[in-house]
Assembly symmetry: C2
Homo-oligomer: 301 residues x 2
Amino acid sequence: MRLTILGCYAATPRTFTNPTSQVLEIQNHLFLIDCGEGTQVQLRKYRVKFSRIKHIFISHLHGDHFFGLPGLISTFRLLGRENELHIYGPKGIKEAITLLLKLGDSWTNFPLIFHEVESKETTLLFEDDKVGVHTIPLDHRIYTNGFLFKEKESPRTLDVEAAKHFGVDRSQYIKIKEGADGISKNGDIVPNVKLTLDPPKAKSYAYCSDTAYKESVVPLIENVDTLYHESTFLETEAHLCEKTKHSTAKQAAQIAQQAQVGCLVLGHYSTRYKSIELFKEEAQEVFSEVELADDGKVFEF
Amino acid sequence: MRLTILGCYAATPRTFTNPTSQVLEIQNHLFLIDCGEGTQVQLRKYRVKFSRIKHIFISHLHGDHFFGLPGLISTFRLLGRENELHIYGPKGIKEAITLLLKLGDSWTNFPLIFHEVESKETTLLFEDDKVGVHTIPLDHRIYTNGFLFKEKESPRTLDVEAAKHFGVDRSQYIKIKEGADGISKNGDIVPNVKLTLDPPKAKSYAYCSDTAYKESVVPLIENVDTLYHESTFLETEAHLCEKTKHSTAKQAAQIAQQAQVGCLVLGHYSTRYKSIELFKEEAQEVFSEVELADDGKVFEF
């Protein structure tokens, strides 16, 4: 599982900082999460292969998470894309993109498939045999969802050495992989758990931006390996959180701590602060495993 | 008259090249012409003061001329803008911007005034006592206008030395400035032209992007000081011009030559070519006064 931060600063693009966008590589998928203005340039800069992006998840329709999408779709068209592109986002996203394509008479020559959400409950957006993606309802000024990316448990793998040890014949291997117990040469039943190995741990990533402090996300993201949680402000500006519906670094850490996540990644920083290290310091007073997102940074989990 | 090129490459933004946008400083106005994705970052990079932009002219609704506008408007809002912002562009631009602001619940706290055009004839878009802006109907895949920026003729200025020489009394100066003839001490009439100096030449700038070769623009732009004319292709790719409705460098030069402009500035280059110098070489075979636009380049006329 590999996370590339394309942009992680709040509000407006600047010369050296970019609004929110990130790429999650998981089980051979390349999921694009949010798409602020300039995302396509960041994708080029960090050499993400455009054609591998098949699913784009948009948390909400504020410009700093969304205004790069029309241009990215146009560029896909100019590059001669033929593969389906799936867009997941709040109701309204289809109307907006469709209007812009219509005004430019720039209909895509590839299937552009919208999956609009409007539920306030967690919803399954995407699923295949390897991974599932659910919404995480957040609390922002407009309708907003985070996203939970979760690998599926792989089946237990056959322990050939153990099978030999217990005298279990090869002819049983397929059934054992499917979960059956084995039978030894002597006719004794050998429990499946003794003939198989634990699968690699299924990994998970939760993305929560933008949101005010919202404890009800905790049960949805419990024990995820990595939580990206916005921290627009420090506690010194906590009074701004209520009006703007953002969080402080401390609040992000409180969510991480309650959900017992493996690692907290902070981002969506207001540019009013001298150094983003201040966010880490504040969060670590509550939760020790803190990383700072930054444009171009890559996390391998 | 000062022209800052923010971006001048065709199609998609790239790591080191930007789609079309430019700023024209004329008679204390700062006119923004087109607004491809990333324009607000280019404005910051070249230190153009956001608050001085009061009029934005959009030639057509293809993404590489327009997709930076929603983000720029949002940024104006975040910066606390209070002044009116006037947007001139094809019919549909108001619906698109309004929908994006509505979806983001991001209404501006400054007056946002749209001036939509749909005429195929040249139209006056803006006028004050110093400058006028007209559309230049172009020939592109969708409805597109270039823009003609023209300073107004200043009144002739009083030649005090001449007035003294002819013995014309000070009491007549105001009327002479308004165009009246003078009367000398001896009672002789002194023609106005002998008592006044030519005003500084009124300057003009024509912007023509995107367009196929279109001779009917020639009478509209005759004798302008500077013509920006797109040259997406070289003659080796002239066969692409008909389908895409773009011009070659040679065609741009032919327009410049017929219109007897002072200087031709080329831009909107396809990125397929090794060097933009090739565009200049091709154009100069037809017309000698050729300059190459490039991102960040400033022209003083």
